[in-house]
């Protein structure tokens, strides 16, 4: 109830002000907010202004010329009125996507940057689990937000776009799991965007207290967008000692979208903090994922899957920071590139001097399906401790004729054989994180993309 009120007032404060990405927008958003938050927004705006737009001269942006793909001066904050909390009024595609989900511990729905619906299993709510809009959390959980929102995980100083997000976020997701509480079913968040030419800034903050357990699945989708449209998210995931967290982000935005996601995970002692990023849609995808292993015994499995066609461009930039001894991280990113699509994988394992007995692995595998597609891979290691086991591997290959031949000799058509080989190649990622419904959904989406491509 309180949340609905907060959201209404948030929207009321904001309604009718169609604005470009300017300081005045940050000031309007800050109006009526607690002082600490208003100050953070304005500070973030300063950082944004002081930070030059990244160019391909920077190592981190070497293969993605940001200025050619994102035109901040032509974007504006969304003007659309938020939809009511009534599924009947939501777009059919959003409803269909949600209907495919099996059971959940709770749902949260964002439409055009605003949270329009939340529900949570009452018995979990009674045990202190919080799933709410970020805007409502500002009023209801100020201490937690003050401590964690855009501070240790994704502060504005992380980069130009991170600063812009911290200045202009409209709403987002706050998930809190108290000590020892374990959720059987995942929390499901579904985002829909519809307004072409707008820039949507949202944030996600997940705090899992000691020995708690939670899985979180976040999908963002849209139809094709007639103008360049930005979907920007900052994701902060904190796993306290012994907690187990799975974070899954699935992106199937329409063409015209620029999907930017800055994610950082902070894994405490003996915690497990796994992530999966699935990138299928959008014209441009840029994911920055930094996994920090902060406590001994921390463990992160980092999975990624991308499938490109047309002129899609994917840029996944990952880092594994081992800052404590005896932690483990294992990354596997796999992608297939069809049409004229292009992928960039840049990953780094950094092992600090103090992080002895580290096990860190990193693998990136690419399959090029057509002439004109391109894959760049930069798997890096920086190791300052000596008692470590680190390895990485990267491959770029094509459809293996022998596998195709084998399948075809069993009476399968070439196009079907190609689909099977690609799905098998990408399926390795999904098998490692068998989370209710996600694997099926993604497999279906990849199969759909294969069907429409030249390999159908």
């Amino acid at each position: 109830m309180a949340e609905a009120v907060a959201n209404r007032t948030g929207r009321a404060r904001y309604a009718g002000k169609i604005e470009g990405l300017a300081r005045s927008a940050a000031e309007h958003l800050a109006q009526g907010e607690p002082d600490w938050l208003a100050a953070r927004r304005l500070h973030a705006w300063k950082v944004f202004e002081a930070t030059p737009m990244p160019t391909s001269q920077l190592e981190e942006w070497r293969y993605t010329e940001l200025g050619e793909r994102l035109h901040l001066d032509q974007l504006r904050l969304p003007s659309a009125e938020a939809l009511p909390d009534d599924p009947a009024s939501w777009p059919e595609m959003l409803r269909r996507t949600m209907s495919l989900d099996p059971e959940a511990s709770g749902h949260l729905v964002l439409v055009d940057g605003w949270v329009v619906h939340t529900d949570i299993n009452p018995s979990l709510a009674a045990r202190g689990v919080v799933l709410t809009s970020l805007r409502a959390a500002v009023d209801e959980h100020p201490e937690l937000l003050k401590e964690h929102l855009a501070t240790q995980a994704v502060p504005p100083e992380e980069g130009k776009l991170q600063a812009l997000n911290a200045a202009l976020w409209t709403d987002g997701v706050f998930l809190y799991v108290p000590k020892g509480v374990r959720l059987d079913a995942p929390v499901r968040v579904t985002r829909w965007i519809s307004e072409a030419g707008a820039a949507f800034f949202t944030r996600t903050l997940i705090v899992a207290e000691q020995t708690s357990q939670v899985s979180y699945v976040d999908e963002v989708l849209s139809e094709d967008l007639s103008e360049e449209t930005l979907s920007s998210t900052s994701v902060e995931v904190i796993a306290r000692d012994g907690a187990q967290v799975q974070y899954v982000a699935v992106q199937w935005l329409g063409r015209g979208a620029f999907y930017q996601s800055a994610q950082r995970t902070l894994a405490g002692r003996d915690s497990t903090l796994d992530t999966l990023n699935v990138s299928l849609g959008a014209s441009t995808t840029r994911v920055d994922l930094n996994a920090r292993l902060l406590g001994p015994g921390a463990n992160s499995n980092m999975l990624g899957l991308y499938f490109g066609d047309g002129d899609q461009h994917f840029d996944h930039n990952t880092s594994q920071d081992h800052l404590a001894p005896s932690a483990r991280s294992d990354l596997l990113y796999k992608g297939a590139l069809d049409g004229q699509s292009r992928s960039v994988f840049r990953g780094i394992i950094r092992v600090a001097k103090s992080a002895q007995q580290t096990d860190a692995y990193q693998t990136n595998r690419n399959m090029i399906l057509s002439e004109g597609a391109r894959a760049d891979s930069l798997p890096k290691l920086e190791i300052e401790a000596d008692d470590v086991k680190c390895s990485h591997g990267a491959t770029v290959g094509h459809l293996d004729e022998e596998s195709l031949f084998y399948l075809m000799s069993r009476g399968i058509s070439r196009s079907q054989a190609e689909r099977l080989v690609v799905l098998g190649f990408l399926g390795e990622v999904l098998m490692r994180l068998p989370l209710g419904g996600v694997a099926d959904k993604v497999t279906r989406a990849v199969a759909g993309k294969l069907r429409t491509g030249p390999h159908a």
């Binding site: 690419n366 798997p379 290691l381 190791i383 470590v388 086991k389 390895s391 990485h392 990267a394 770029v396």
Partner: protein
């Protein structure tokens, strides 16, 4: 291992090439790099006008390019360069007869074992002292077959057409800041031509020695291996240890014609006050093979990435790289393979060892252009860390534009296993012996490719370096 060898090892200095001759060069430029320095070098060499113009243009290119901000830390380098002598002429004229080389220089090379090696195993020997080749000779049988093995200056003088056809085509002056610098002030280096179908069965060797303090050496080497020919070229480098920094920046250009085969071996053992920033590149034509064998043991800072540009169908490039980074050293080494033609293949194998406060970085590029159908490349990097202050990095760049390409990269980083040590020590080895044995095993795939003398030398160095590393 026989006991006396170990004791002998203990007697050796940490860096056994730390001796210096007192000699007076016949000419040297003022410290630092200016246009006057460039003109003075050209004048001393009596060069044609086009070369002077090339040097001056390169000098301007050098000034216009910023210092690299990646790789090794070069923040102090500008200060160092202001104090460096860019050109030091040790004697009047290059000699073809060993007896004619001045005593102080001759003694240096004799201590390094050069004349002895020449008699035994080499087809030809060149020796560079400071800025000039002081000695160059080629066995008569190869001379008779039309092989050219000259100083680069004599190459320009005696074979102007061949020289001009290839010079600065493989590594253009504007390639990078240090290639531009070398193009402006180059002096010394070899000019090699192996005619069609000639197989040199013993190596050519060039030896580079920096003797004076605050010396900058800028050798330039141009090697052309004509169709179906085969050759092996070895370069070695040493210098005495000074408290100030010295500087070495070479450019090596290699053209391997169709069906030819060439191997270039470097044993870089500069003293650890040396900045070593080198550009080495080979253009590899149809069905030709280029092999780089790159050993980096010395220097304070090395940035060096031997490259193969595979431009002819079926060309093959291979890079074997070994780096050892001890206290205070940063070896930023690796290799590049560029596939620009169908059915080209390449392999890079890199092994590095970091010890003490040393840092070994592998930096590499594998690029496959669209149209280089069925290109295949494999890269393997293994790093060994000897103790907890050492550092290892791997920075591979993989850029693939071709659907039918097959490219793989793998790297591992590990430390010497306690179990391996325990096993060997339980057989009566000391910890140092056991460590040296493990490290030798680690680099063996590369060491076994070296000519015997070098393999022995490498093993001895490893043994010396493992001393006192326990604990």
């Amino acid at each position: 291992m026989p006991k006396n060898e170990l004791i002998e090892g203990l007697d050796l200095d940490q860096y056994k090439y730390d001796f210096r001759s007192v000699d007076k060069p016949v000419f040297r430029t003022e410290p630092g790099l200016t246009e006057d320095v460039v003109r003075a070098i050209s004048a001393h060499k009596n060069e044609p006008q086009w070369m002077l113009e090339f040097r001056l243009k390169s000098y301007r290119t050098y000034l216009s390019k910023p210092m690299p901000t990646w790789g090794s830390d070069l923040t102090d380098l500008e200060n160092v360069l202001d104090k460096i002598y860019f050109y030091v002429r040790p004697q009047d004229k290059m000699k073809n007869n060993w007896e004619d080389v001045p005593d102080s220089i001759k003694n240096t090379f004799e201590k390094l074992g050069i004349p002895e090696a020449e008699q035994k195993i080499l087809a030809g020997v060149g020796a560079q002292y400071e800025s000039e080749m002081v000695y160059h000779s080629l066995k008569k049988e190869w001379d008779d077959k039309g092989v050219i093995f000259d100083s680069i200056e004599d190459g320009l003088k005696n074979h102007p057409e061949l020289f001009k056809k290839y010079f600065a085509t493989v590594v253009p002056a504007a390639d990078n800041k240090f290639a531009a610098m070398n193009s402006a002030v180059w002096s010394g280096g070899s000019f090699v031509y192996v005619p069609k179908g000639v197989h040199l069965d013993t190596p050519l060797q060039a030896y580079f020695r920096v003797n004076q303090e605050r010396m900058g050496q800028f050798e330039r080497t141009l090697i052309i291996i004509d169709e179906g020919a085969q050759a092996h070229y070895i370069e070695g480098c040493t210098a005495p240890v000074y408290s100030t920094e010295s500087f070495h920046s070479g450019v090596i250009e290699i053209v391997v014609a169709r069906d030819a085969r060439f191997r270039y071996t470097t044993i870089q053992n500069w003293s650890n006050n040396m900045y070593n920033l080198v550009t080495q590149r080979a253009v590899v034509n149809e069905n030709a093979t280029m092999e780089w064998l790159d050993g980096n043991l010395g220097s304070k800072t090395t940035m060096k990435y031997p490259s193969c540009y595979l431009v002819g169908e079926g060309a093959h490039g291979s890079i074997l790289s070994i780096a050892y980074a001890g206290d205070g050293q940063h070896q930023d080494t690796g290799g590049k393979v560029v596939h620009a033609a169908p059915n080209t293949t390449s392999s890079i194998i890199s092994k590095s060892i970091s010890k003490g406060t040393g840092r070994a970085s592998y930096r590499g590029l594998c690029k496959v252009y669209e149209g280089a159908t069925s290109a295949r490349s494999n890269v393997e990097c293994d790093a060994l860390l000897i103790n907890e202050t050492a550092r290892s990095d791997t920075y591979p760049y993989i850029e693939i534009e071709e659907q039918s390409a097959n490219v793989g990269h793998e790297a591992t980083v590990s430390k010497i296993g306690e179990e391996q040590l325990f096993y060997l020590m339980s057989r009566g080895m000391s910890q140092e012996e056991a460590m040296a044995l493990i490290v030798r095993g680690f680099i063996e795939p590369i060491a076994k490719q070296l000519p015997l003398e070098y393999a022995v030398e490498l093993n001895r160095l490893i043994e010396m370096e493992m001393e006192g590393s326990v604990g």
